[in-house]
Symmetry: C2
Subunit: 317 residues, 2 copies
């Protein structure tokens, strides 16, 4: 069996490449075919991960497969979409069966969690790089965009912030930590949990939403710009894990929560009237600020003083 054939076989045989709601034709033809139910739109997002830029090289292929799909599926969560399928474009310097099998297991693991099917892609030789395109369905006109935030809305997030940024020195082997600190931080980095159910629960309630990939400040800036409003964050209300606080200390942990990327927690704006029901239903919602007239993003300390940091987040260029 040639190397090309090997790759095709590994992915075509993967559990996540079998069947699936809405998948009329999967891997193996010039195109895959998707059925989109009447009254629904297709949500589409593309994410690229480059070795040495978005993940350490070498790294554990199982964790890489798992994380790649989680990062991509998180964009579906941010739109309130229900995952259907994904394509994988994988560029590899060499083909190693063990690496491929482990990568496919990681992909399968996250695909099962997200209920999403691998329907196609491409495999090429070159520097290690992955591009995933994910597809979801959402009732027509009900997707959560970035442009609907209104003055008076609450600014909320769906979970703790800064854990993935805090994990980076551990991922890169620059620091060590005891397991009660290292394990939860590394879990957030390698196995982010796309907040798909929360995204769907927010449809018709949240006025805007996104997933935090560039860092809270930078991503809130995207909502502020698209909605033409100002977002105010109260520094003291940022949800920060015990592990992060123990690992970094108070002030650096707050900075990680504000500016660190890769959290893949939802940030959204919500009319106050919607909050009690969502909290009553048990959704992990933290109110961290509010929407006002104006533009940009501000951070306030407990006394209401502006303490907005100068830089907002991570930029690839």
């Amino acid at each position: 069996m040639g190397e090309f054939e090997l790759i095709r076989t590994v992915f075509a045989a993967a559990p996540c490449a079998q069947g699936g709601e809405g998948v009329a034709l999967g891997i193996g033809d010039d195109c895959a075919l998707l059925d989109v139910p009447f009254g629904e739109q297709l949500a589409i997002s593309t994410d690229t991960l480059v070795a040495g830029v978005h993940f350490a090289d070498p790294c554990d292929p199982f964790l890489l497969g798992q994380r790649s799909l989680a990062v991509a599926a998180s964009d579906l969560a941010a739109m309130g979409a229900t995952p259907l399928a994904f394509t994988l474009a994988l560029t590899l310097p060499t083909v190693e069966a063990d690496w491929l099998q482990a990568f496919a297991r990681g992909l399968n693991h996250m695909a099962q969690r997200c209920n999403v099917r691998l329907i196609g892609g491409d495999t090429t030789r070159g520097p290690l790089c992955l591009t995933l395109t994910v597809f979801g369905r959402v009732p027509t006109g009900h997707a959560l965009t970035r442009s609907g935030a209104r003055p008076g809305d609450l600014l909320c997030v769906g979970g703790e912030l800064g854990n993935a940024a805090g994990a980076l020195p551990l991922v890169l082997g620059q620091r060590n930590a005891e397991s009660f600190i290292a394990e939860p931080l590394l879990a957030h980095y390698w196995s982010p949990q796309p907040q798909l159910a929360l995204g769907q629960a927010l449809r018709g309630k949240a006025t805007s939403a996104l997933d935090i990939s560039d860092g809270l400040l930078a991503d809130c800036g995207h909502i502020a710009q698209a909605s033409r409003v100002r977002l105010l964050i109260e520094n003291e209300r940022l949800p920060i894990s015990v592990a992060l606080q123990e690992f970094l200390g108070d002030a650096p942990a707050q900075l990680a929560a504000l500016s660190g990327g890769d959290d893949y927690v939802l940030a959204f704006t919500l009319p106050p009237v919607e909050l009690p029901t969502l909290l009553g239903d048990g959704w992990p919602i933290h109110v961290i600020g509010c929407v006002v007239e104006g533009q940009g993003v501000g951070v306030l300390d407990a006394q209401g003083q502006d303490i907005t940091p100068a830089t907002h987040g991570y930029q690839h260029f």
Copy 2:
């Protein structure tokens, strides 16, 4: 303006990123949103092009943009789909405004030709590499797959073969040729014309179809395998351009037509009864063989002798 912002601006402002049938939400949110008409399915294909593997590096960015989209859209043609949209994942070592502008112009040029809109993607730093995912619509159940060829069908192609393979020594600067030879060959390589209209005309008529990217023999092998039939190619009937014949000579030109990749011409199987109408309508169809019972692909000379070459096409691994 930061480099990241520059890229975003160039693509968001590109003519091919504006409006478009079926595009409910384009560039700028977590996902794009597509409307798929009732009674139609969405066809999806992903292609990756790596610098130094799929194209020379450096190369003309206009031609690269144009060719990348043509290669991807050709998979829609092969399914008989009508193009709707595409995403672009672009990995760049450095950001140069002139390069980006020229690349975007090339992309625009082909996007206009294919009537397809840029709806999203990702831009990352790393070794030069592009992944395009294209979306088209096709009436439910009427896509042209690889699996319907039946004994008795004719084997056809939609145009001349081998021109792109013939152009390679020119692209790589290994040989020169007079302009009446070089120009048509290079045009085929840099500006392949996805046979979108032909693909749509073949819906309900062809029993199988694909676009020739790996080479005629290798791609016919895909139809033979998916349809569980044998495909016979008559060597003397291969449509070969005057330029290719002049450049390579008779036998090497035939080998280029059989095994050279990157032609992006459609290959398809057709019940004989369908041929007269299609030819009468002026479609550029060349009958090059037939479908019989059995498996694999055979090549016959003018005397009916089996002259099948040992290797079938280009493999990335």
